[in-house]
Symmetry: C2
Subunit: 165 residues, 2 copies
DNA sequence: TAAGATTGAGTCCTCAATCTTC
DNA sequence: GAAGATTGAGGACTCAATCTTA
């Protein structure tokens, strides 16, 4: 992940100084906080953030099941990446694959009871990490600004469709 | 990287709702924007963000050189991770290793002229990405809040020393 | 032909063990 | 023994090619 950046080079025409400073603060903070939370989870033998994401996506889906390609999109992984990730999570017993009734090409990932239990086990240390490393250091006003600004940023970059890949 | 999260579980004692919403906005935005910038750089055959970080760290260091363990820390990589990364960047001709005069155990990474050129080539598309996907969508006030809040978050999580690893 | 999923090859990271020098 | 760096083994991701079904 990006830690350091650019810069004593000529500034870009399109990018101003506060814009660059905000970007640096953004990625530096991300690296620090996510790294710390990952290590806390690992230290207690809990599921990693990636596994957490998969289980959460399933947890929020109807019947706790999702088509593999939908799941891949939700966790921002390539299809093949998801295939292998799911192999590991399935081997751990937290999900199982089920054939799709209507379309014999496809499959569903379904969360098991063990998966739900793993999610619940991990949540307290995850929540503690978010609080201790992140939200405890923000005022209510700052939280509001972050929510508004960063949701907008995400929405705009997702809708700025690229050439297609 | 973490895309999705927790929750319709019981909230944590320590984590309030706006805190969680801010966290989600934060990591969702990061995934979207960084992913997009990485793809833009790759599409033009430029150095990845990781290589960029290494070259930038060297660019900002006295004499364009840094001890390997210092460099590892600056780019948030393990020592072995940095060793291998540097192998690749060195093979590309962007850095070279030099023995440390005072301490024969250690080595310096030194940026070459080619490395500096690669940095300069990548900067325009990187800057454009930061502007288009991130800072163009923020008001001046929001930039100010992000800078203040996220610098504080990073500083606190870096100083909250952990058991040591 | 195309869509869903998997496999093969290759990249890039980590931890633990090792080698060298302090 | 400890610090700096590398190596071995393995985990986890990507793109491109493949297989199956639509």
């Amino acid at each position: 992940m990006s830690i350091t950046l650019c810069y004593d080079f000529a500034m870009s025409d399109e990018l101003d100084d506060p814009g660059l400073a905000a970007w640096k603060a953004f990625i530096f903070a991300h690296t620090a906080v996510v790294g710390r939370i990952e290590r806390d989870l690992a230290a207690e033998g809990l599921v990693s953030l990636t596994w957490y994401d998969v289980l959460t996506a399933l947890s929020g889906a109807p019947d706790h099941r999702l088509r593999l390609h939908e799941l891949a999109q939700q966790v921002a992984l390539s299809r093949s990446g998801l295939t292998r990730l799911l192999d590991r999570i399935e081997a751990a017993g937290y999900v199982r694959r089920e054939p799709s009734p209507g379309d014999r090409r496809g499959a569903y990932a379904v969360m098991t009871a063990e998966g739900e239990a793993a999610l619940l086990r991990a949540w307290p240390t995850y929540a503690r990490g978010i609080a201790h490393y992140f939200s405890d250091h923000l005022s209510d006003e700052e939280k509001g600004v972050l929510i508004g600004a960063l949701r907008r940023v995400r929405a705009r970059t997702l809708t700025t469709r690229e050439p297609d890949r």
